[in-house]
Structures are given as C-alpha cells and as structure tokens.
C-alpha cells in the first residue's frame, strides 16, 4: 500500500545516493585488485568490489569484535532484518525493502568476519548461518511474491526463489560428496545486490516518475526479479553440470 507520490523526497534521496556512489567509486579506484578467479563462471561481483566493501565494513567489524559481539547475534539480526524486508515488500514499501535487503546482506558478511576476527568461527556457527540464510531468503521472496500477487511477475519470483535454493543446494550436496563447488555467476551476495539494489532503484524511479505516470510503478523491481530468475537458473544448471561431470568417474566404494 504505497502512499502518495513523493518526487521531492525521492530527488533528495537520489542526490545522497549520487554522492555516496561518487565516494564509493573513488574508494574502489584506490582499492588494489586481488587476483581474479580463473574460469568462465566467476561471480558477477568481482574480487575488487568485494575487497572494497570489506574495507568499508572493516572498522565496523573491528568495533564489533572489540565489543565482543557474538556472531550468532549478527546472524539473528540478519534474519530479523530479512523478515522486515519481506514485510516491507509485502506492504509495497519498495525503497525501504530494498535498503533492508542490502542491510541483511551486509549483516551476512559481518557475521562471518566477526566470527573469524574474534576467533569464534565454528562448524556450529557455519551451520546456523546457512540455515538462517535460507530462511532469510525465503522471507524476502515471500514478500516479493505477495507484492506481485496477481501479476505474471509472481511466476518469475517463484522461479527465482526455486533456482536460488537450487544454487545453494547443488553446492551443499556436492560438498557432501566431497566436491568443492565454489564457482557460479550468481551466489548469495549477488542475489542480495540484485534484489536490494533493484528494490532501492525501483522505489526511487517510481517516486520520481510518479507525477508523469500518475501512480508509482515498479518495472525496475520486476526486471530485477526476472534477471535474478534467469541468472540463478543458469548458475544452478552450470553447477549441476559441473558436479555431474566431476562425479562421473567410478565410485570409490
């Protein structure tokens, strides 16, 4: 239930985002590029962007480690924020939902960093983190599905939800069979970015174009969902193919 058009507020938000993007590009240019992963299925978010974002979060991570914040608390916070993001999508609060999705992704990065930095990394923590990640993604997709109810985009949301789950499942199953399956165009950070930035931009565009169109429309978010569905399907297929090929040899038993 998105309220009235607010082009003025959207323009102010766009101005702040433009300044932030400018600062981010400057920071990115100063970040040394780590060695890229070989192969055609490298993640969409390259090592340089990942290194830059970790650098941005590093002081916060250090503060959390010094404050003895438990990584499980950050995992829990990620889950709660994801549920809020799903609720915001459901209500049609798209800009807010997009931003909360990005925040949830950031907390997902922070919990691992704090666990390693504080010497608290454990198999139990990794397991809980994976379970929380799946629940968090489900909450966001549920909200998206509810927002697009009655539209063809709902089918794209369902495909994106299924294929995202398959991306994670194929890797987990392959690892269970002793195969490391790291590569893939769209992994969890990419999913957070596509949905988060898609929602964020969609909210801005909807409010800015609202006086012309008469009502907020979220074509950008719909496009982001379709892109995510396609890329996740491709990633899941490539992983399945790669794992099947690697496991095709004779069974060791």
């Amino acid at each position: 239930m998105s309220p009235a058009c607010r082009p003025g507020t959207a323009a102010a938000a766009a101005g702040v985002v433009a300044v932030a993007v400018g600062l981010a590009l400057r920071g990115l240019a100063q970040t040394p590029a780590p060695p890229a992963v070989e192969g055609g299925d490298a993640p969409l978010i390259g090592p340089r962007v990942r290194a830059w974002y970790r650098g941005v979060l590093s002081p916060l991570e250090q503060r959390l480690v010094l404050g003895r914040v438990h990584p499980d608390a950050l995992t829990g916070a990620q889950l709660v924020v994801s549920v809020f993001a799903g609720m915001a999508f459901w209500c049609g609060w798209i800009f807010l939902a997009g931003w909360l999705t990005i925040l949830a992704g950031t907390l997902d990065i922070l919990d691992g960093g704090v666990a390693r930095g504080g010497g608290r990394a454990s198999a139990r923590g990794a397991f809980l983190d994976s379970v929380a990640d799946r629940c968090a993604e489900f909450a966001i997709f549920l909200g998206l599905g509810a927002f697009f109810r009655g539209s063809w985009v709902q089918l794209a949301v369902a495909i994106a939800a299924f294929t995202s789950l398959m991306v994670s499942y194929t890797r987990a199953r392959a690892e269970g069979l002793g195969l490391a399956l790291q590569l893939g165009r769209v992994q969890r950070p990419e999913r957070y970015v596509v949905i988060g930035v898609g929602g964020w931009l969609s909210g801005l565009v909807a409010h800015l174009a609202c006086p012309l169109l008469g009502r907020p429309t979220h074509a950008v978010l719909a496009a982001a969902v379709v892109v995510l569905a396609g890329l996740s399907a491709w990633t899941a297929l490539r992983r399945t193919q790669g794992a099947a090929r690697a496991l095709a040899g004779p069974s060791p038993s």
Binding site: S2, P3, R6, T9, A10, A12, A13, V16, V17, A20, V56, L57, S58, P59, L60, E61, Q62, R63, V65, L66, A88, C91, G92, W93, I94, F95, L96, W99, L100, L103, G117, G118, W200, G203, H207
Partner: protein
C-alpha cells in the same frame, strides 16, 4: 586484520550515517512515519558528516602542505 588497534571512529560513522539516512528516506518515501523518517535522516546526516569531516580536513591539510612546498 589487526584487532588490537582501536578502529578509526570516522570509518565507522560513514557507513552508519549512510545506513540511517537511507532508512530515514525509506520511511519518508514509503510509510506514514514521516517524523521518524525525518529524525533518522537528520541523525544519519550528522553521523555521515562526522565521518566525512576528517577526510575533508586531511585533504585540506594535504593541499596546504602541497601549496607551501610548491611556494618554496
């Protein structure tokens, strides 16, 4: 990462300020909670300003040093 050293406070305030500002804009754009949104934008702007100010100051000091070195 060395966790023995105290992290620079301005490095924390920049992302926190941006986070609060965007949350505020989100509330202002999408929800009826206009006052809370305005408060978050104000708080976020203050925090981001506190984080950005040392950067601006360092750049000014650096430019002043470069200028005086050029004059010599």
């Amino acid at each position: 990462m060395n966790h023995d050293v105290e992290p620079a406070p301005d490095g924390i305030w920049r992302p926190v300020g941006f986070l609060l500002t965007m949350l505020g804009f989100g509330l202002r754009l999408d929800t009826p909670w206009q006052a809370l949104g305005g408060l978050l934008i104000f708080g976020g702007a203050m925090a981001a300003g506190a984080g950005l100010w040392p950067l601006v100051r360092r750049r000014r000091v650096g430019a002043a040093f470069a200028r005086s070195a050029g004059e010599e």
